[in-house]
Amino acid sequence: MSTVPIGFDPDGVRALGRRTDEAIRGLDAIRSSDPAAAHAMRVLRLTRQTLADHWMPLIRTIESSTAMTRWAAHPLNLDHSGRLRAATWLVDTSLQSVGPAIDAAFAAVLSRLDDDELLQRLEELCDSHARSGTPIDPDDERWMAMIGALAAELDVRLADDRDGSFRRALVRAAPGVPLIALAVGPSSLLDRSTFDLARAMLAVEPWVAELHPVVYEAAVEGLLASLRGSPGACLDLLADELALRSLASWESLDAGLVSDVVWRGLYEAVADEPGRIVDGYDVLTALTRLANGPLDDGFTPGMARGVAESLVGYIDTLAPAVRTEGTGPVLVIGFEPDFETMLGTYDDVVDLVGAILRDEQAQAAVGIAIGSYTDDVVAALGAHVDEQVGLEYVTRFADLIGDAARSEQAEVTMAVAEAAARRQRMGELVGFGAHLALGPSSSLVGHLLRSTSRQAIGVAASVDPRSGTAMPDLSIPAVVYDHLTVAIVERAGAAGATGDEHLSQITADQWRLVDEHLQDIDDAADDPVERAARTRRMERYVEQFVPPLAAYLRRARQAPNVDELTESRSTRDPDRPR
């Protein structure tokens, strides 16, 4: 029968008890009746529950247990030579038994070896486990103890490594000895070693990782978790095409972790340092190549989500680059900093978006990006929306997303997210610099995108697709067309108030009825089917009963490509394969 190693430091546990008690009292003292704080208060209660129901009972049990009095007399608490023997035996017998003092003993063994011997010994250990079919289990506490000792030893040697030779040797050896990365990832402060190891471990053929199942993946995940502390390092990692390909294709890596690294690299690094948008576009260009080559089946969910969430930063420079369909080039031109990047052809970029849209959270994030961008462009035009400048960027990009969408459910998810972005006035989030000087931080933008995505996915799951002609067109072009219609009518109110000679002919009663239609549409924000139907009703009312407003709407819709957004309304066949 195997036993689970346990160990306690009596003074430490007593101190922990005091601090836990203080933390509980501190949580109790935090109060708010503001409705906007309701979620935060719920989380505070949950946290208090964890401390009161799990931490305190365990701490009290340990304090009253005799186990603590046996701590000093543990059979493996040996003298120096005994520890060395125990540690040597540990390595040779693959951790069949261990006690609380073993990490110290193992550390003593490690410290006696020179650099080459250390790496050789670790390689033999990993090899023997790979060959024997008893893989290293990083969640096993015996291995955790060993890895902790190894981490401390590597920290010491890296600190003394003035010429960098040990770091280079570690990086070379890392893909064959995943224990190295497992030790360095979570234990060290983020430094050059973490980045180099992550890049080395990701830039391998898949079979190398398969030699060390579980442990290789855990090692990479540990390194990625550390790298998240530096958005700039995340972007550097994504800029390595081999590492990028691994992150976009390694299905079993933790999706949340990968999406976080991609978000921090593609969005936060650029928000922190706007000049790095050029590097961000280089990553998007590399992803476009992958989507049109080896990864034409789509990206991993983590990569898809990370890229889709970052789109809100890039969309104001990307959308104007989308011009002609087919083989027309998508040439992104940026100002401050000045740059030009050829992302690929229109069809190439359609495939990039298609590779992203295979994940539900990514679909929601893309919906939010286009909704936010539409909101941003219309808001910038203000009362002059009928002058149309910039609307074609929205319409062409909406067409591109429509071309990339492959399933009706994806369209519904994007439609709901698009509406949510409009309702929450997320146009302010577009870009990296324009709004952010006095606006929300990167972490706030990320939080908002993710919480809105989650809500949109929940709503989309409850949408009941109707059969035949009763189901309105919920493709992104059609949804953006409706968004523009509503936004233009809203802006017309402002234009009328500022003295537009045609709009000023509209009576107060007519405006009141238009407002009621707009309110009806807003009330259906969570029901894309009903929302589309109510938008149609408002359009009909305006056309029949408010001619000056209908004329204003027509003028605004004369922007290039706007009417093409509604092509599928009349031609759509619900049974058509998509």
């Binding site: 306690f8 933390a23 935090i30």
Partner: protein, 90 residues
């Protein structure tokens, strides 16, 4: 009328910002440093530490959420101010 509404929104925004800072200062974020392997080890301690880590992540999200709501309230207050100014000048 809108000046007092704007003031109310600003007070709420201020309260949310202060609440976020109060949560951020909570001792709950310092517990894990006293709960490492040097203090205790085993499956139940590991479970406790993992549960707390999950709660800490949720708290960080909630803190972000409070600041975002405060930002939106502040924006709304500014819009009310601007509307009131327009009304007075008209």
């Amino acid at each position: 009328m809108s000046y007092s509404q704007a003031g109310h929104l600003r007070r709420r925004a201020q309260h949310l910002v202060e609440l976020a800072a109060e949560i951020e200062r909570s001792a709950v974020f310092e517990l894990e440093s006293a709960a490492d392997h040097g203090t205790w080890r085993g499956r139940r301690p590991l479970l406790c530490v993992n549960l707390l880590a999950t709660n800490q992540r949720q708290l960080h999200d909630a803190i972000d959420g409070l600041r975002w709501r405060a930002y939106l309230l502040e924006q709304q207050a500014q819009q009310l101010d601007a509307a009131a100014l327009d009304l007075r000048s008209a």
